[in-house]
């Protein structure tokens, strides 16, 4: 199964099959155990995604089920990605093939790490997340249409409204989620800020 290209530029929508990982408070140690962090490059991280859970479930984990191979939309529940700030978690998901995450709620650092890779984390109600997971289970081959710009996800004839804060929404839709150049471009503003911080100027003494 070939992995789709990593996100580049605007992310107004995404179309792909879904894979549900059920449970609240799934932390980044579970998304990628720490032993996989012993690396100086993100390249090989796909093999570590959910490694311990997958080993424990011996083939029954959604990421190992044949019907979910090639899926690109991860559907989760509450507080997904809590714990460690490791960007290795979204990197591993992205390298496995995930291009959008939909769930009831996300931990903040995980959300920001996904945004920095061009992967939207879109929220919906608790019951709606469960309904979407059930719909994926009922027909794993059906494609989800994730409308980032219009903030809804469709599956067959059903659709659910999604939520995304205005800032990240704008960044994804406009393609400015990879914002390093934008930050660097504010050189005069950066200089002005540094100049007014007393701890950078010896407290005026």
């Amino acid at each position: 199964m070939s992995i789709p290209a990593f996100p580049v530029g605007p992310v107004p929508r995404h179309r792909g099959c879904g894979v549900a990982v059920v449970g609240d408070d799934i932390d980044t140690d579970r998304i990628i155990p720490a032993r996989y962090l012993k690396c100086v490059s993100f390249t090989g991280l796909a093999e570590g995604v959910f490694a311990d859970d997958r080993r424990e479930q011996a083939g029954a984990h959604p990421f190992d089920r044949p019907e979910h191979q090639g899926a690109s939309v991860l559907v989760v529940n509450g507080n997904f990605g809590c714990g460690s700030s490791r960007e290795h978690a979204p990197q591993a998901l992205m390298r496995w093939g995930i291009r959008a995450v939909i769930g009831h709620s996300f931990a903040e650092i995980f959300f920001g790490n996904c945004l920095a890779l061009g992967i939207p984390c879109l929220s919906l109600g608790k019951a709606e997340a469960q309904a979407l997971q059930a719909a994926i289970a009922a027909d794993p081959s059906a494609e989800l249409l994730v409308d980032v710009e219009g903030l809804q996800v469709g599956l067959g004839t059903a659709s659910w409204p999604l939520q995304l804060a205005a800032g990240p929404h704008q960044m994804l839709v406009s393609g400015q989620w990879d914002g390093t150049s934008q930050l660097v471009a504010h050189d005069p503003e950066l200089r002005a800020t540094a100049a007014r911080l007393p701890y950078l100027t010896g407290f005026g003494a």
Partner: protein, 468 residues
């Protein structure tokens, strides 16, 4: 300056620009890096043809991957060696100060920055590590970031951030003898839940907080993230200033008085308004122990594992998962549960006062037969101070191993790890499944004194009678 919170004041001072869609470009006053989350950031910087904008505002150390037995180079683990060698090369290439092994200043990044006086009130602090919230103990706004954001800070000394709301957590009442800042934060997380703080900065305030030492405030803010709050902070006061004065990177001479005046003015104003407020009574808190697989699954040492009926319906699936994983029956007491491994250390509880409290329990007692217990100082400086007081001798005489500084068994990136279904009493911060290096290993979070009590009795034990 109009009435506001410290968070609002520091945010405004560091606002570089407003970004499209409503986020803020925020200047970062202090950037801390380590070997795990920085190598890919330096590589990305190079790919973009950029350089480090303010190398003098970034400070590096090595902590996650270092062995705590022999720290001789090269490390036995070639992957760990490559990570440290890469950090050394990146710091050398970009002119970044690295506090390396044997420098006298190496240690866990959240231990060394405060002890060197790098962390100061009113700063914004970022580091590729979620426990960066620790630095909020000084009245800094400090938060963990991912590797792409490490790249952004290296390139621009700034970050795109969405402003947080502020919740004041007001604590009154005196902590009982044998109850520590660790118990307080475990109690707060137990009450508000592991996602209670999402979207908020937590301001810890009130008489109980004002009475805490800086090391206790660091323990408290360290675990703000375990309650979902990316930022936790305490307003700077005379305790903060007394801690900072004379430290290597703290202002001195005439600058000191100017600094104190500036820092004092940044504290939240008495009539500041908060988006939310929650109150706690510290006097009712018992030594607290986690029984499950999130830091929110905590109970007093004199309580029993909650039954499903005692658990809110939303949390029942997680409770059932925890019963299975931990092999604990609902309704069973946590006191008396045998443990296999006892770990004292980490960025939460690896400071000198933590080691003193644990040593007070260990002194004159013996580690229970068949149990492995070890103490890992948070930094080379903590190790030196502890050894000067003879704490290492106290621990060794009691049968503990005395190790070299590092993150050790808090996470599984170095040789210190659980094996199989071992159960540990740990002064660290996370009891997630597999966190301590075995996919089926089990972790009970508690204070360092409680870990020492577990070590000398072989089971979860209320420390209070042992120190009366």
């Amino acid at each position: 300056m109009s009435a506001g919170t410290l968070f609002d004041k520091v945010w405004e001072l560091h606002r570089v620009a407003d970004l499209p869609g409503g986020s803020t470009q925020l200047f970062i006053g202090l950037h801390l890096i380590h070997e795990v989350t920085s190598p890919q950031a330096f590589a990305a910087l190079s790919d973009l043809g950029l350089t480090v904008r303010h190398p003098e505002r970034t400070v590096a150390t090595v902590d996650h991957i270092v062995p705590t037995t022999s720290q001789a180079r090269p490390f036995a683990d070639p992957l760990a060696e490559e990570m440290l060698a890469t950090l050394e090369a990146n710091c050398a290439a970009h002119g970044i100060l690295l506090h390396g092994l044997g420098s006298g200043r190496q240690g866990i990044v959240h231990v060394i920055a405060p002890e060197l006086g790098l962390t100061q009130p009113g700063m914004t602090v970022a580091c590729g590590d979620s426990h960066t919230s620790t630095h909020g103990a000084f009245g800094a706004i400090a938060f963990g970031i991912g590797t792409s954001q490490v790249r952004d800070v290296l390139a621009s000394q700034s970050l795109a951030m969405t402003k947080l709301k502020v919740r004041r957590i007001w604590v009154e009442g005196e902590l009982q003898n044998g109850v520590y800042a660790k118990d307080l934060i475990l109690h707060i997380i137990r009450t508000l839940g592991v996602k209670g703080g999402v979207g908020y900065a937590h301001e810890f305030a009130g008489p109980t907080i004002e009475a805490l030492t800086m090391e206790e405030r660091m323990t408290l803010c360290n675990m703000a993230i375990e309650g979902g709050a990316r930022v936790g902070y305490v307003n700077p006061d005379s305790t903060t200033f007394a801690y900072l004065q004379g430290r290597p990177h703290a202002p001195s001479g005439a600058a000191w008085d100017q600094a104190v005046a500036w820092w004092s003015a940044l504290a939240s104003d008495p009539d500041a308004s908060f988006d939310d407020e929650v109150r706690f009574d510290a006097a009712v808190i018992a030594p607290t122990v986690t029984w499950g697989i999130t830091p929110g699954q905590g109970i007093g040492v004199d309580e029993t594992v909650p039954t499903l009926e005692q658990t809110p319906p939303d949390e029942r699936p997680l409770a059932e998962e925890a019963y299975r994983y931990m092999d604990l029956a609902p309704g069973s007491p946590i006191a008396g549960l045998p443990v296999d491994v006892c770990f004292i250390g980490s960025c939460t509880n690896g400071r000198l006062s933590d080691l003193r409290e644990a040593a007070a329990v260990a002194r004159g007692r013996q580690v229970a037969p068949g149990l492995r217990a070890f103490v890992v100082p948070g930094s080379e400086q903590v190790a030196a101070e502890a050894e000067a007081e003879g704490l290492d001798a106290v621990f060794r005489a009691a049968g503990f191993e005395w190790r070299q500084p590092g993150c050790s068994m808090c996470l599984a990136m170095n040789p210190d790890r659980l094996e199989g279904r071992q159960i540990s009493a740990s002064s660290s911060n996370r009891n997630f499944k597999g966190r301590q290096g075995s996919a089926s290993g089990r972790t009970l979070l508690m204070s360092p004194a409680m870990v020492a009590a577990a070590a000398v009795t072989g089971q979860v034990t209320d420390v209070r009678p042992l120190i009366s």
